[in-house]
């Protein structure tokens, strides 16, 4: 997908996955099921294939259990969304769709997904976080060097400042006047003070932190992917590959960390999310292609799930947890035109399946 040629297609996914191109879960506010079935309350981010500019948003009504519009952005705006929709964040009635390989964030009104503005001047943007009237965009900038976080004035939708952070910054967590951003190609978290918009500290965690949440106990939980080591012949060297881990700390004492390491190094844990009351942790564990099964653990559990015994078996590229009823949404990642998302009850049994766009990587749950 980096090139028209199929061999490059074959390698692009793993490479993107290695680069830390992982999916983000829900960012919307929790709610009761939407009373109007013709209005979408779940927004599926269809990433789209690299260099095909076929990213789009699927609008879904959870109460009606039906897709309202499978190409919502294109329909609402009579134009394409762009190339590689990496994530979507909703705040203050607006949706911020980060379009990675178009170097932009599309700002839309919710829930109709009509364009309000386009934020430009970004460099391989990944995720969007909101604190008050400011937005924060993590950006890879370059795979070989440090990334940055751009500060957005949400009234003008323009970049007001850029903050250098670590290698390949990914997902962010806003907590207590701080933005925590994981540096996925390093072993650290940069902490940005939202008053000064400067990095005030850097927290060392484990290798390849890729996602983080704050649980019901106030603990920040950071999922680290471990370190994948390759043989000279490009096969994973499992004798040297380090397994992933879950690092936890209180915001007030970031160096007082609890560290749980996975028993298996065969899969890389990623995409950490919580349910509505933040008592359960959900994540996926993936190999090269960025697809894999879904796992769950209680926040007070002192042991990690066994990666060989998933909560939901399957090949998922995207994961979302409905904050209202803990319905689990899993998206496939074939990128061939046959992608779908599957809903599971909170206990893990499947409910129904819907066709969606190319590469559904995350789900946004929205309540007006």
């Amino acid at each position: 997908m980096f090139s028209p040629f199929s061999f490059l297609f074959a390698t692009a996914r793993p490479l993107l996955a290695l680069a830390g191109l992982l999916s983000l879960g829900s960012c919307g506010s929790s709610s009761d099921p939407d009373p109007n079935p013709s209005v979408s309350n779940v927004f599926v981010v269809n990433e789209g294939a690299f260099q095909k500019s076929d990213a789009d948003i699927t609008g879904f009504s959870s109460s009606a259990g039906q897709v309202v519009n499978a190409t919502l952005f294109t329909s609402a705006n009579s134009r394409a969304l762009g190339d590689v929709a990496q994530s979507m964040t909703v705040a203050n009635g607006h949706g911020y769709i980060v379009v990675n390989n178009s170097n932009k964030v599309e700002v839309v009104s919710m829930p109709d997904v009509k364009s309000v503005a386009t934020i430009t001047g970004l460099s391989l943007p990944r995720y969007f976080a909101v604190s008050g009237t400011k937005g924060y965009v993590s950006e890879t900038v370059a795979y070989s060097g440090p990334g940055r976080v751009s500060v957005i004035d949400l009234t003008t939708n323009t970049v007001t400042k850029t903050i250098p952070v670590g290698l390949q910054p990914e997902r962010m967590l806003v907590a207590d006047g701080k933005v925590y951003v994981v540096n996925s190609a390093a072993n650290s978290i940069s902490v940005i003070n939202t008053q000064t918009d400067a990095v005030e500290s850097t927290i060392t965690v484990d290798n390849a932190p890729n996602s983080l949440v704050q649980d019901a106990n106030g603990q920040i939980r950071v999922l680290c992917g471990g370190k994948t080591v390759y043989t000279p012949t490009y096969e994973v060297d499992y004798t040297l590959t380090q397994p992933g881990s879950l690092v936890s700390f209180a915001p007030s004492a970031p160096t007082m960390q609890t560290r749980l390491t996975f028993a298996s190094n065969r899969l890389r844990p990623t995409d950490l999310q919580t349910n509505g009351d933040k008592t359960q942790l959900y994540f996926r564990a993936v190999a090269n292609s960025g697809i894999g099964p879904i796992f769950r653990m209680g926040i007070n559990n002192n042991s990690l799930p066994d990666l060989t015994a998933p909560f939901i078996k399957g090949a998922f590229y995207g994961l979302g947890i409905d904050p209202n009823d803990a319905t689990i949404y899993g998206g496939t990642g074939t990128f061939s035109g046959s992608d779908k998302f599957i809903r599971y009850r909170s206990i893990g049994t499947s409910i129904d399946t819907f066709a969606t766009g190319s590469g559904p990587n995350s789900f946004v749950f929205y309540q007006q």
């Binding site: 980096f2 090139s3 028209p4 040629f5 199929s6 061999f7 490059l8 297609f9 074959a10 390698t11 692009a12 996914r13 793993p14 490479l15 680069a19 260099q51 095909k52 500019s53 076929d54 499978a70 705006n77 009579s78 134009r79 394409a80 762009g82 190339d83 590689v84 390989n101 178009s102 170097n103 599309e106 364009s115 503005a117 386009t118 391989l124 370059a142 795979y143 000279p232 012949t233 490009y234 096969e235 994973v236 899969l267 993936v286 190999a287 090269n288 292609s289 697809i291 894999g292 399957g314 090949a315 496939t332 990642g333 074939t334 061939s336 035109g337 046959s338 779908k340 066709a355 190319s358």
Partner: protein
């Protein structure tokens, strides 16, 4: 372009014209052959000129459809590539990522991997990808291009499932010195130059051809953004490419012939980003070095040939995010022996060996692979109006033996009047495609356990040739075909492995209709050739394994259901005017057939004037216009293509 029959007729004329140079006994034999029975004439092997033709594999491809472009057709595009010729002159769909960018062919509803591209009988598809980029094949590399539609694995070997594209440079003996030099300039920074020079007497034939072209491709295109539509200039789409070809044939005596050919191509391309996508400064360097040498001995009843070839294909890709280098060296050997039991019965047996040595970053290690195949071809004409062929090929792949590949064909001229000929034709074939090196060795994902794909296809048709007046002929051909491709390989994520891998997942059925007609009118100083062609192509996955999530019974992506082409060539004194109008139907973009690209009509035209400077030198001025109706269209998903554009050329030729 001409149909097989007009080519055969042309051959008849050529052979008969050439006899002045031959011994009188040979002349007598040639004239005994009925001029209408061109196939039998091809068996008149004592004619050295016919010998070369007889050695061609197409002699054994009876009952199929061929579209042939000779040097006159190719001369319209001396600075162009085969992608330009095929797109403009046929209803074939080439998926094109932009001017000078990747152009991959789809014949009869199959993928680019299912078209074998042969240069002087050797497969030149990239061994790593198993396909050819037609934008990397300048027209000057060969003097004849034939598209063999449909499966013919027994005759043409690996990958001849959707069809075969045959590049060759048939020798014309005793022509003397001739050549041309041309310079071109066109829109969006296009600059090109080409030189071709050939010489032949009765002993030696030489041809040298060189071509260079470059373009900036900074053409404007519209993009819809927030607040309206903006016009952008295409970025990162420039290219430079050159090609040098040298062919040489020596007749040692009446029976022995040596051939040698070299073809070097080099393309340095920026990779045009999709509309709306960031410019990741991707670029690709493609270099191919192709060398071959052959020896052929022709006796009264026996004919023996040995050919060796060595290819080196480099494909280096780099962008801000990725670096991928590859180099594959292919050594090949072919040997064949033909026996003519009678003028109507000939048999050819042969064997081929290929050795691949690949240094591909994605494989993580050096790879070698050997492939072998042996074949037997039979041509039998039990009656002057009935031609039959039966071919068999058995390939041996590493740890795999594909099914025996037989092809049977028949042509029957069932009715003939002084002005009309009616022919029925048919063929059936089982063909195969060996897994590509990428499919087997890419890390991660390469699947060494892949089975070869196997296809079973058959076709039937009707051909009509009508001489309406001494100066007016109409040739019409109708073909219907159906083909099933088993073990179709698809790259998809494997839930157990956790990465993308190619697997034998599905059964694909391609069926369709092809209609083409050609009218030739030569009333005097003016001459007109008009061709019209239409294809209906339905290609669908009809079965899949449990691991294949793509739905069944949807038209495959990038296979237009309908396509058509109409072209006219007018000549009047020293003026020539050509036009081509092509229609490409809606194409789906995904396996579920939900998103699509709309159909489009493209109109191209060219006007030229030839000034005779003296009996040796001609000067020709040529103006060409592309996309004259200024269409905004797409060949590939989000890749921009230029609106109306043009090219001016000046050609100096000698003969």
């Amino acid at each position: 372009m001409c149909t097989i029959n007009s080519c055969q007729r042309w051959l008849v004329v050529r052979v008969l014209l050439g006899v002045g140079c031959l011994l009188s006994s040979m002349l007598a034999q040639a004239q005994h052959v009925a001029p209408t029975d061109s196939s039998a004439l091809q068996g008149a092997h004592l004619l050295p000129e016919a010998v070369v033709e007889a050695a061609r594999l197409s002699h054994y491809a009876v009952g199929t459809r061929r579209t042939v472009f000779d040097s006159t057709d190719l001369a319209l595009y001396p600075a162009g590539t085969l992608a330009d010729v095929l797109a403009a002159r046929t209803p074939l769909y080439l998926k094109n990522y932009g001017p000078g960018q990747l152009s991959s062919i789809s014949l009869r509803g199959t993928s680019a991997r299912h078209t074998a591209v042969l240069w002087h009988g050797f497969n030149i598809n990239l061994p790593s990808l198993g396909e050819a980029d037609f934008a990397l094949l300048p027209t000057t590399g060969a003097t004849q291009v034939a598209v063999q539609h449909g499966p013919a694995g027994a005759t043409y070997g690996n990958g001849a499932i959707g069809g075969t594209v045959l590049l060759s440079s048939p020798v014309r003996w005793g022509v003397g010195l001739r050549g041309q030099v041309q310079a071109d300039a066109g829109s969006f920074g296009l600059g090109a130059g080409s030189l071709e020079n050939s010489f032949s007497n009765q002993k030696i034939a030489l041809r040298t051809a060189a071509a260079y072209r470059e373009a900036e491709n900074n053409f404007p295109y519209p993009e819809r953004v927030f607040g309206g539509t903006v016009t952008r200039r295409q970025t990162n789409a420039a290219f430079r490419q050159w090609s040098v070809a040298q062919d040489a044939t020596f007749r040692l005596n009446l029976h022995d012939e040596l051939t040698a050919a070299v073809w070097l191509t080099d393309a340095n391309r920026q990779i045009q980003p999709a509309i709306g996508a960031a410019n990741d400064r991707a670029r690709e360097r493609d270099q191919s070095r192709r060398l071959l040498a052959g020896y052929r001995h022709v006796a009264r009843r026996h004919e023996t040939g040995v050919q060796a070839a060595w290819f080196e294909d480099v494909l280096n890709y780099q962008s801000d995010a990725l670096l991928s280098n590859s180099r594959v060296r292919t050594s090949q050997l072919q040997a064949d022996h033909a026996i003519r039991f009678s003028p109507t019965l000939s048999v050819r047996v042969g064997a081929e060996a290929q050795h691949y040595a690949a240094q591909v970053d994605g494989y993580g290690r050096a790879i070698t692979e050997n492939r072998f195949s042996g074949y037997g071809l039979l041509r039998y004409d039990p009656h002057p109006t009935l031609h039959l062929s039966l071919n068999l090929r058995q390939a041996l792949l590493p740890h795999r033996r594909p099914s025996l590949a037989p092809t049977a064909g028949a042509e029957w001229q069932f009715w003939q009047t002084p002005t009309q000929r009616w022919l029925l034709k048919g063929s059936a074939s089982r063909s195969y495609r060996a897994p590509t090196l990428n499919e087997r060795y890419w890390r991660p994902g390469g699947n060494p356990d892949l089975q070869p794909e196997t296809s079973v296809g058959y076709e039937g048709g009707l051909r009509h040739e009508w001489q309406l007046a001494p100066t007016l002929t109409v040739q019409t051909e109708l073909t219907a075909y159906r083909q099933l491709v088993q073990n179709w390989v698809q790259w998809l994520p494997d839930a157990n492995l956790g990465y993308w891998t190619p697997r034998n997942l599905r059964l694909v059925r391609a069926q369709g209709l092809e209609a083409n007609t050609q009218l030739t009118w030569r009333p005097g100083a003016y001459s007109l050739t008009t061709r019209a062609a239409y294809t209906f192509t339905q290609s669908r996955k009809v079965e899949g394994t449990a691991a294949d999530p793509d739905p069944v019974n949807r038209q495959l992506p990038y296979v237009p259901l309908h396509s058509a082409a109409v072209s006219t060539d007018h000549a009047w004194r020293h003026w020539q005017f050509t036009s081509s109008l092509t229609f490409t139907g809606l194409r789906y973009l995904d396996a579920s057939a939900t998103r699509s690209l709309p159909s489009y009509l493209l109109l191209n035209a060219a006007l030229s004037y030839r000034l005779r400077l003296n009996h040796t030198w001609d000067l020709t001025a040529l103006a060409q216009g592309y996309n004259l109706t200024n269409q905004l269209y797409r060949s590939y998903a989000a890749q921009a293509l230029p609106r109306r554009n043009g090219q001016l050329s000046l050609r100096l030729s000698w003969h």
